[in-house]
């Protein structure tokens, strides 16, 4: 995967987020660091910079001193605590750095209660382990944790920087990318570099020359496009056909209901529809989204939205 192949390996290789990188370099120089909280949108280099820092700090074999966990993949705070306990129990012996680093991705998805438990864990193991929490929104991290961490806010990648990066990769892979192609990539990935690189690689899989059409044809095959189809069928009142797509997404593609509703919401917002219509629909989406969090059957709840689309379409 190109996104991994071209992921910077050391802090020196990172070209953007200049200020953050220079502060991280200081930590390496002092061979010490506080607990970290890295926040910012997806694909702007949060995970990359902490991986680079680890490599710079520990050298070869750095993997032995870090543990990467993803809050959304671990079943509950107890599992996380158990893993942290086992990892942090042994000090980093073979290294001159006296601590290990625990990277907890999507930390902002933890419930408040789980975060309080995490805070306790952070305190207990501070001597042997530094915590690096990563998330999209700092608002979703409880204050006691924020106050124990150095907070780093990552900004979205500027358009030119991202395009340069994509251009560089294309050159190295022997792919010709047209300007329209770069525009389309930037547009479609909304500043998420990993997403853009993955898109580029898929588009380049079938042709060596990538333009906007090849990017959009790739996009047409992935889930958000299917969600869009489902919405259109819903608006037209073809409920059965729309429900069929919903089932494909849930069953064949294995998407989680909360991801589907997230896509529905963002597609709805992009539709060329009256603002008032969007408000009314969003109200329904919000209600269904809440019900999903309560553990209701996802298919029946989501399908009420499809029926709602047909109903609201009548008033247009």
């Amino acid at each position: 995967m190109w996104a991994e192949k071209y992921r910077p390996k050391t802090l020196d290789e990172i070209v953007n987020q200049v200020e953050i990188v220079s502060r991280l370099k200081n930590f390496v120089k002092e061979k010490n660091l506080p607990h970290l909280l890295l926040v910012g949108p997806a694909g702007v280099g949060k995970t990359t910079s902490i991986l680079c820092l680890s490599r710079d700090l520990y050298g070869v074999g750095y993997q032995n001193y870090i543990l990467e966990l993803n809050a959304s993949d671990e079943r509950g705070i107890d599992v996380i605590r158990e893993k942290v306990k086992n990892f942090a129990r042994t000090a980093a012996i073979a290294s001159e750095v006296p601590f290990k680093i625990l990277i907890l991705d999507e930390a902002d998805s933890l419930t408040t209660a789980a975060q309080h438990a995490l805070r306790r864990t952070m305190e207990i193991y501070t001597k042997t382990c530094r915590f690096c929490l990563i998330g999209n929104y700092s608002e979703n991290i409880i204050d006691p944790i924020q106050s124990r961490c150095s907070v780093f806010r990552y900004s979205p990648l500027p358009e030119m920087e991202m395009k340069n990066y994509l251009q560089k990769i294309s050159n190295k892979e022997g792919v010709k990318i047209l300007l329209e192609g770069l525009d389309a990539l930037y547009e479609a990935s909304s500043g998420d570099l990993r997403k853009a690189i993955n898109l580029l690689q898929s588009a380049a899989a079938s042709q060596r020359e990538v333009d906007d059409i090849s990017i959009y044809s790739v996009l047409g095959k992935v889930s958000p496009q299917r969600v869009k189809e489902m919405i259109n069928l819903g608006i037209k009142g073809q409920f059965l056909e729309a429900r069929e797509i919903l089932r494909e997404l849930l069953i064949d593609e294995g998407l989680a209901a909360d991801d589907i509703i997230r896509m529905i919401y963002s597609e709805l917002m992009r539709l060329n529809m009256p603002e008032k219509w969007k408000i009314r629909i969003s109200d329904a989406v919000g209600e269904v989204d809440y019900r999903l969090t309560q553990g209701s059957r996802s298919e029946i709840q989501l399908s009420t939205l499809i029926a709602k689309l047909a109903l609201e379409a009548e008033d247009l």
Binding site: M1, D105, A205, Q238, D259, Q294, Q301
Partner: protein, 474 residues
């Protein structure tokens, strides 16, 4: 009889409570009550177990008696009849504290529905007297809970704790049948087991009997083997019920289907959900119907989390709430959907002939389909259709059995692969498995379809197995 010759329904019966997969609540209630006898005679000296046949009422009592060290004395319908016969049989047993083996007794009156109010003169009043005097726990079992029995057993029910047994969820019937075929070593397909499970309507015993009957002398089962399964005479055949539900005009009428159904509410819910869009073809009706059903789902959730009292609102919403949403709807969307599916597969309407029959629409291709047959077959199956052997056509029923669960079962291995690939990506690409599924795998599939070279390097790097590569290519 040697073990080999035992009927399967007996051979594969659970031998301890841990093996009993369903009706956990009922089992818990019964255990609690039996335990209370250790501290003396409880207020209610009898337990009244009710529920449809073949779901493990008697079996549960037998297993519990064994586990809790009771000496079980079973009385069957044939033994009831008259007061004098009953007193002779039970009178002493019920007042003795222990048997000669030092065990406490448990008296079981099975097949209570077999007592006829008139002929078995005094049978019920004899049981009433026995319950009032007994020093040993008494369990009463009745298979049907229709209105006539309600009246007949009223006195008995007043004296007893009531324990409801529910039909076995279709999915659990499926699992049990699947387990049996694997143990016996018969080759079969998910479709056949699915058909047997649906057919049973939650009567696990009948499902096992059906399976045994069609498997006799065979090593492999074919779809044709299930063609001749007969419908047992039971409360109501589900499609008829669904029809009744959507035809009903009052709450009372619609509410009835809950008691008439031979399904537990979970399966009934799925049936209603599957068929709502077929009956409510008016936009507004459909919306209100779905909202009512979605509300029922929420009440179910709340009932489970806080108080079972809330279940009655679930029942109300899933029946009356749905049925009374019907104001302008008149149709049944089957025909339209058949055409959508066939044109999606590249066939115009003119490629088929269509006939309305009592059970559904018969659709017959007008030319040889070749390899497209399978594609169409899968698509029709997804809307509940079946290929009818010998006629060369599909029957798409007006009322469908729920498709969702079966699709989950059929695609189980598919999702297993998806998850294993996703976890490999998560590890290498420093993302969550969810993100791998949502963002990366769809793009990876495109790469695998279009570029062998790139696919090869990527699979080597991700350390994918052969079957996983295959999955990404298809």
């Amino acid at each position: 009889m040697s073990l080999e010759q035992l009927p399967w329904a007996v051979k594969f019966k659970p031998t301890n409570t841990a093996e009993i997969a369903d009706n956990k609540d009922a089992l818990f209630e019964l255990t609690k009550w039996l335990k209370s006898w250790q501290k003396g005679i409880p207020k209610k000296r009898a337990a009244f177990l009710q529920g449809p046949p073949g779901i493990g009422k008697t079996m549960s009592v037998q297993v519990l008696a064994e586990e809790m060290g009771f000496d079980l004395l079973e009385v069957n319908a044939s033994d009831y009849r008259t007061r004098s016969r009953m007193e002779e049989l039970i009178g002493r047993a019920s007042t003795q504290n222990i048997t000669i083996f030092g065990k406490r007794r448990l008296i079981l009156f099975d097949e209570m529905e077999g007592i006829s109010g008139r002929e078995d003169h005094g049978g019920i009043s004899a049981i009433v007297d026995i319950i009032k005097k007994t020093r040993n726990p008494i369990v009463l079992i009745a298979s049907s809970i229709g209105e006539e029995n309600d009246e007949k057993f009223r006195v008995l029910r007043d004296l007893s704790i009531l324990i409801d047994f529910k039909p076995v969820p279709t999915l659990d019937v499926y699992k049990k049948l699947d387990e049996i075929t694997k143990k016996i070593g018969i080759e079969t397909t998910p479709e056949i087991i699915e058909a047997l499970a649906i057919h049973s309507g939650g009567d696990l015993r009948s499902a096992i009997n059906d399976l045994e009957a069609i498997s006799r002398g065979k090593k492999k089962l074919n779809t044709s083997d299930i063609d001749n399964l007969t419908i047992r005479d039971r409360k109501e055949y589900t499609p008829i019920l669904i029809n009744n539900l959507f035809a009903s005009k009052t709450i009372q009428e619609s509410r009835k289907i809950i008691n008439q159904a031979f399904l537990n509410y979970d399966d009934l819910f799925d049936w209603i959900y599957e068929n709502i869009p077929l009956f409510l073809d008016d936009k507004e009706d459909l919306y209100h119907g779905l909202i009512a059903l979605a509300k029922a789902d929420i009440y179910e959730n709340r009932a489970r989390k806080s108080n079972y009292r809330l279940q009655k609102y679930m029942y109300l919403m899933m029946t009356g709430g749905v049925a009374l949403s019907r104001t302008k709807s008149e149709g049944n969307g089957v025909k339209k959907q058949i055409f959508t599916i066939s044109s999606k597969q590249g066939f115009p309407q003119s490629a088929f002939s269509l006939n309305e029959t009592a059970n559904g629409l018969m659709i017959r291709p007008l030319k040889y389909l070749g390899d497209d047959w399978r594609k169409l077959n899968d698509a029709f199956r997804d809307i509940g259709g079946n290929y009818v052997r010998g006629t060369g056509s599909w029957l798409i029923p007006y009322i469908r059995s729920p498709q969702l669960k079966w699709r989950y079962i059929r695609t189980y291995h598919n999702r297993l692969k998806l998850k294993s690939i996703a976890s490999k990506i998560a590890l290498k690409c420093h993302v969550s498995t969810k993100e791998a599924i949502n963002e990366i795998i769809p793009l990876l599939k495109i790469i695998f379809k279009n570029n062998k070279e790139s696919a090869a390097t990527t699979s080597a790097w991700l350390e994918l197995e052969e079957s996983e590569k295959e999955w990404l290519r298809k």
